[in-house]
């Protein structure tokens, strides 16, 4: 009978030589590593994303055009004579003239400012209002949350364009671009509010809030110092992606003739004017459309890249 107390073959006592398995101090800090906050991580991911590189070059260019249109054209977009009506391109007027005899190139250049300011201003207002209301709803909870959430639901039920058309119809006499900006914000804040509420709700219950309450922090201080900063990522993502859609909406409203007044140079208005001569002179419609498409594409691409970088699922704790 074999000795059964002896280990089975291959299971004898084994001790690894110490040279091959050097012992390290328990739980040492790797001091050589560089500090990475969430933002610097996101920035590193963004820098490597071709989508971000292309879209940021485009956006920087678009912003430059909007700020200094004079650098690109010496022509006045509002100087139109019927002598030039539908004249083809000639030196100094690379895109030719539209039906009214206005220079298409300079109108495309000056239209950038309109589109961009509507897009950026609407987004800023939407983020401010949406975050505030969403954060209050998520943070306070209870009946405040119930009331605010129902208001959000009601606004959600109104299609943005339809609502904008109805409201803009009532204020046809006002000519400022703020009219369009405020109307877009009025119907746009709800989606941001929802996202903000969700983000605040989820970071509200994290332990570091309890920890800082126990340190003596007040609920309001917690909201502004801990909860909101931790809820920013999804809000930034939705803000960048929706910027493009506000530009499209402004163009759509102007196209329908109820957005900006015809005295303001805008791509939507120009596209609208050009549609009647689409058959004979398609290029008059082509240039503002391309400008609009490229701008919107740039912002949507940027939104995608930012989303990739900030998406909590792609980040590991």
């Amino acid at each position: 009978m074999t000795d059964i107390t002896k280990p089975l073959p291959g299971q004898e006592r084994y001790v690894a030589p110490l040279e091959e398995t050097p012992l390290q101090t328990v739980d040492t800090v790797d001091e050589s590593a560089t500090a990475t906050s969430m933002w610097s991580d996101a920035w590193r991911a963004l820098r490597r994303n071709p989508l971000f590189i292309i879209s940021s070059i485009l956006i920087v260019f678009i912003i430059f055009v909007a700020l200094f249109p004079g650098v690109f054209t010496k022509n006045d977009p509002n100087y139109c004579t019927l002598d030039n009506s539908l004249e083809p391109a000639r030196p100094g007027h690379p895109f030719g003239f539209d039906l009214q005899g206005c220079d298409v190139y300079s109108r495309v250049i000056y239209g950038t400012r309109t589109s961009l300011s509507v897009g950026i201003l609407s987004t800023l207002i939407v983020v401010a209002v949406g975050t505030l209301i969403g954060a209050i709803a998520g943070f306070c909870g209870g009946w405040i949350d119930a009331v605010l959430s129902r208001i959000v639901d009601i606004f959600m039920a109104i299609p943005m364009l339809l609502g904008a058309i109805v409201v803009l119809q009532m204020f046809r006499t006002i000519t400022s671009i703020w009219k369009v900006v405020l109307v877009l914000a009025l119907f746009g804040w709800v989606s941001t509010a929802r996202i903000a509420r969700g983000a605040v709700l989820s970071s509200k219950n994290l332990e570091f809030n309890t920890a800082s309450t126990a340190l003596g922090s007040t609920p309001m201080r917690n909201l502004f110092r801990h909860i909101l900063p931790n809820s920013l990522a999804p809000i930034i993502v939705i803000a960048t992606t929706s910027l493009g859609s506000y530009i499209v909406s402004e163009a759509t409203l102007s196209f329908l003739g109820i957005g900006l007044p015809s005295t303001t140079v805008s791509w939507g208005g120009d596209i609208s004017n050009a549609q009647s001569i689409l058959r004979t002179d398609p290029m008059v419609l082509f240039y503002p459309s391309v400008a609009l498409a490229v701008t919107v594409l740039a912002f949507i691409m940027m939104g995608d890249a930012v989303k990739d970088a900030l998406d909590p699922k792609s980040r590991t704790a």
């Binding site: 398995t21 800090v29 969430m38 570091f208 126990a214």
Partner: protein, 672 residues
């Protein structure tokens, strides 16, 4: 010689005659990082598992223990790849298997019981359906028992199996008829009265449809006195095979779920953690694998539940002849359950051998370190560096603490504390804490011990004034904390600080370490910018972290380092009391040991009082002077640590003490 040693002998003989069931040699597993570098997760690791044997792989998190096991199953996550060495299952090389080939081995040859019972069951499917999935995926015959050769060889001596059909399972339809026939048979041989009732009760308990086989039924009848021929006749007539539902219920019953047929129709959310783990064990063993890989199967469960489940799993695998590769971070558990132990460190096997021998006489410095840090029952209260230096002889007899315990004044007094919560969708109130009273004396540590749901954390939150009690009072230095508002509340917060369980959740990920530690100073407007920065440096030094950590963010630090940051933050305002809510529960043994020592040194240096909430009695022994045991919201036992450990008064406390894995084993005999 007893029956058990007989079987053990025979098992040893059989194992010796065979090749290892699983043989891993010089295994190397690499992971590729985002920037294309290879990380060697496992390097040159070798171990083997024989049929019917429990082998434990022990190591801290990141040591490569789970990775090695997953490599055997072909379930390496992400970019993991076996780059060298061999894995042999029953002598066949499987390391080069494609996923398709692995499918044939998984389930039927190798089963897995995963770590987290909460996330490993699909919440939208009934438990029964998930067991069925395992059976169907492997084309299991649900009406016949499949037994390993080892189980057959072991059982052969006692019972003669006459034909293949004798391994048929009992079906639920035939059960009433079978019981009736058994009743008649018993009457026929003249069994009456108490003996009759007892036997029938035994049959009812034993004959579980889908789990009991014909030969076992026959065997039971024979043992009850029925003549062999009659017994086999009855068994043959009524045990004719089980349906899928029967088998599912049978499997769940074997895993220790009571009322299995009903349970099978329930959803995971209706199960407790322990029950889910039992269901996962049933799934893992559904296709009667020869090897069961159990990856920390009970680390998410309470100790008493852990003990029950492992006891049951051990019985079950013993009777089925299943080998178990048991992955754990708990040395005590490994010593108690496994015959062979493999210690891993940084991807390498540093020591292996018979488990008791390895743990009693560890030789590799790492194993020695592990054994020394393991909070087993034998360990004493940690003595701080200062005390060690001062009065060695007094400390030997643990006098310093007992004396100070006698004369110390009370800093926190909890009296008749009760907290009720409203149950959702009902009008019922649930008493989370029920009439709890205790005193925390200045400069000492009071531990509150209990399992999850015992209300210990609720008590902590009320002491911290994060939650208002339904009734009862908490006083701090003689004043009722319920009265604190504004200035006085801020003052209270300054003196009573928490350290929470989750080192990943209690630090704001957006804050640098510097900002995190500075936060309490800012809130309480202590000092100017410069003096605050100096204080942060001082605090980091106090918790033994380098200054360079200041610029880092929590996600870059390990759990233990984060916990030390949390302690530094709690210490920033020079508090009197620190409430540690499971502060070391999420940490590896070595790191846990380090943090406990740190807490203890801080106590000695600054005269802190700790309210230490934990589920781990072994840790209590190391840090606490007084112990309060809680169960279902009530205080069950209260005494000094020595009293509670040496002379537990309540059954519940005794159960808790018994459930400490490896509590009765003396480890590290060769360490000083």
């Amino acid at each position: 010689m007893s029956e058990q040693t007989n079987i053990d002998d025979k098992l040893g003989q059989l194992q010796r005659a065979e090749v290892p069931l699983l043989e891993v040699k010089d295994l190397q597993v690499d992971f590729t990082t985002d920037d294309g570098r290879a990380v060697h997760a496992v390097r040159d690791s070798s171990f083997s598992v024989y049929p019917g044997q429990w082998v434990a792989i022990v190591g801290e998190s990141g040591s490569g223990k789970s990775t090695s096991a997953m490599a055997c199953l072909g379930l390496l996550p992400g970019t993991g790849k076996v780059v060298g060495g061999s894995i042999k299952l029953n002598g066949n090389e499987i390391s080069h298997y494609t996923q398709k080939e692995f499918v044939n081995v998984r389930g039927s040859k190798m089963g897995l019981v995963p770590q987290d019972p909460m996330s490993n069951l699909n919440p939208v499917w009934r438990i029964g359906t998930q067991v069925k999935e395992a059976l169907v995926a492997n084309n299991m015959d649900v009406s016949h028992e499949k037994r390993s050769d080892l189980a057959k060889a072991l059982a052969k001596a006692d019972i003669e199996i006459k034909s293949e059909g004798d391994e048929t399972f009992l079906g639920s339809k035939q059960l009433p008829e079978l019981l009736e026939a058994a009743e008649q048979a018993l009457v026929a041989i003249g069994v009456e009265g108490d003996a009759f009732a007892k036997k029938m009760e035994y049959f009812r308990a034993e004959w579980v449809p889908g789990s009991e086989t014909r030969w076992r039924v026959a065997d039971d009848l024979v043992k009850a006195g029925v003549k062999a021929d009659d017994a086999w006749y009855i068994a043959k007539k009524y045990v004719t095979g089980s349906s899928m539902e029967d088998r599912i219920a049978g499997l769940l019953d074997e895993a220790g779920l009571p009322d299995a047929a009903t349970r099978a129709r329930q959803y995971p959310h209706e199960f407790s953690g322990g029950m889910r783990q039992r269901a996962l064990i049933a799934i893992g063993l559904a296709c009667r694998p020869e090897l069961l890989i159990a990856d920390e199967p009970t680390s998410a469960l309470d100790v008493t539940v852990q003990k029950k489940i492992l006891d049951h799993l051990q019985d079950l695998t013993d009777s089925l002849g299943t080998a178990v590769l048991f992955i754990t971070h708990d040395l005590g558990l490994a010593a108690e359950r496994a015959q062979h132990i493999v210690v891993m460190y940084k991807g390498q096997v540093v020591e292996s051998g018979p488990s008791l021998e390895v743990l009693q006489h560890p030789q590799h410095p790492y194993t020695k370190r592990l054994v020394a840090a393991a909070p087993s029952l034998a360990s004493q209260r940690i003595v701080s560096v200062e005390e060690r230096g001062q009065d060695a002889s007094a400390i030997m007899e643990h006098k310093v603490n007992e004396e100070s315990l006698e004369k110390a004044d009370t800093i926190i007094e909890v009296s008749h504390l009760t907290r009720e919560f409203k149950l959702p969708r009902t009008k019922d109130m649930f008493k989370a804490v029920d009439d709890v009273s205790f005193k925390l004396k200045r400069g000492t540590t009071l531990a509150i011990v209990g399992e999850s749901g015992s209300g210990k954390s609720t008590v902590a939150n009320m002491v911290l004034k994060l939650l208002e009690p339904t009734s009862g009072t908490v006083t701090y230095n003689g004043s009722d904390i319920a009265q604190f508002k504004g200035e006085s509340l801020l003052d209270f917060r300054r003196h009573v600080q928490p350290v929470f369980q989750n080192p990943y959740g209690s630090l704001d990920p957006m804050y640098s370490i510097f900002r995190s530690i500075e936060e309490p100073l800012r809130i309480h407007k202590v000092g100017d910018k410069k003096s605050r920065a100096a204080r942060v440096r001082e605090l980091l030094d106090m918790v033994e972290l380098p200054e360079s950590v200041m610029r880092r963010y929590p996600n870059e630090l390990s759990g233990g380092q984060r916990q030390r940051i949390a302690i530094a933050r709690a210490m920033a305002l020079n508090p009197d009391v620190i409430v540690c809510d499971e502060a070391v529960s999420a940490l590896d043994v070595l790191v846990q040991d380090q943090v406990l020592h740190l807490l203890n040194d801080l106590q000695a240096k600054n005269g802190l009082s700790y309210l230490f909430i934990t589920h781990d009695l072994a840790v209590v022994r190391q840090i606490a002077d007084d112990v309060v045991v809680m169960q279902h919201g009530k205080l069950v036992e209260h005494g000094t640590t020595d009293e509670v450990f040496l002379h537990p008064q309540q059954q519940y406390t005794r159960d808790l003490l018994d459930a400490i894995p490896g509590g009765k084993l003396e480890l590290g005999l060769n360490l000083d």
